[in-house]
Amino acid sequence: MHIRLLTVSKDNKGKEKQYDGIAGNLITYAAKIAVKEYAEYACVSLRPKSKIAQHYIDKYNMKLTGMTLSIEVPEILDLINHYDHEK
């Protein structure tokens, strides 16, 4: 599953953001669909700008292949558990 466009409102951007973790929750939403459909073959990918790739690697434990970042089993299960526990 490839995330083509991911965005949050201006109110939830930067230090003064109203809600935290919106991007993480959106990626987790995609992750849940991927696991529900494909179990051990589940994968969520996205292609960030090179300067922010490391941020996604650090924050969501994604792996880099070429220009594409992806998260698969087992990390994708940890991501779902992490954001489900934050509810």
Binding site: L5, V35, I52
Partner: protein
């Protein structure tokens, strides 16, 4: 007006604001997809049996939750199918599961093949078993199996009204006293 160039910190804040990973061309997309698939195949070869089971159990949980959330009028036996998936994911034989929850293999087979409804005790044992299995995998609401079972009953009943309603409507009436009050 002066424009300052973006620092790495700005980009990281942008990461939370959003990203656009649409491809510029079909060729670009296909090339990236091929590289990703190659890397994924390498990583998938290293998945352990345990990791695969955990993924399948998470999938089953998500499928059950999705089923509970929406009415589904079809001919499938959802409870029995989910149970079959659950048992076959964890055990090498169904008899071993029957042994673990102290029921006969025949009774298990009857429920899995939808020849007999599960008794309350069966679902309660299944609830306890699932709690133990899912403990270190993910949150699993203990009422899930019950919800699936009754959700299916409700959907089946509502979708088959044409069959049971004509006969039963003849048996149901309001006495005069009740009718006058309403």
């Amino acid at each position: 007006m002066t424009m300052r160039s973006k620092t790495n910190k700005d980009f990281i804040e942008d990461a939370e604001y959003g990203l656009d990973s649409r491809y510029n061309s079909k060729k670009d997309r296909e090339s990236e997809a091929a590289s990703l698939m190659e890397a994924r195949l390498m990583r998938m070869k290293n998945l352990s049996k345990d990791q695969i089971i955990r993924a399948k159990l998470m999938q089953l949980k998500l499928k059950m939750e999705a089923y509970i959330e929406q009415p589904m009028y079809d001919d499938q036996n959802h409870f029995a199918d989910f149970l079959k998936e659950y048992v076959d994911t964890i055990y090498s034989t169904r008899n071993k599961f029957a042994h673990d929850i102290n029921i006969t293999p025949i009774r298990l087979s009857q429920v899995i093949n939808n020849h007999r409804d599960p008794k309350d005790e069966f679902i309660m044992k299944l609830m306890i078993h699932s709690e133990k299995v899912y403990e270190n995998i993910c949150d699993f609401q203990k009422e899930t199996w019950y919800q699936v079972y009754f959700h299916e009953k409700i959907c089946d009943t509502m979708s088959s009204q044409e069959k049971w309603r004509p006969k039963l409507e003849k048996d149901v009436k309001l006495s005069e006293a009740i009718e006058q009050k309403l």
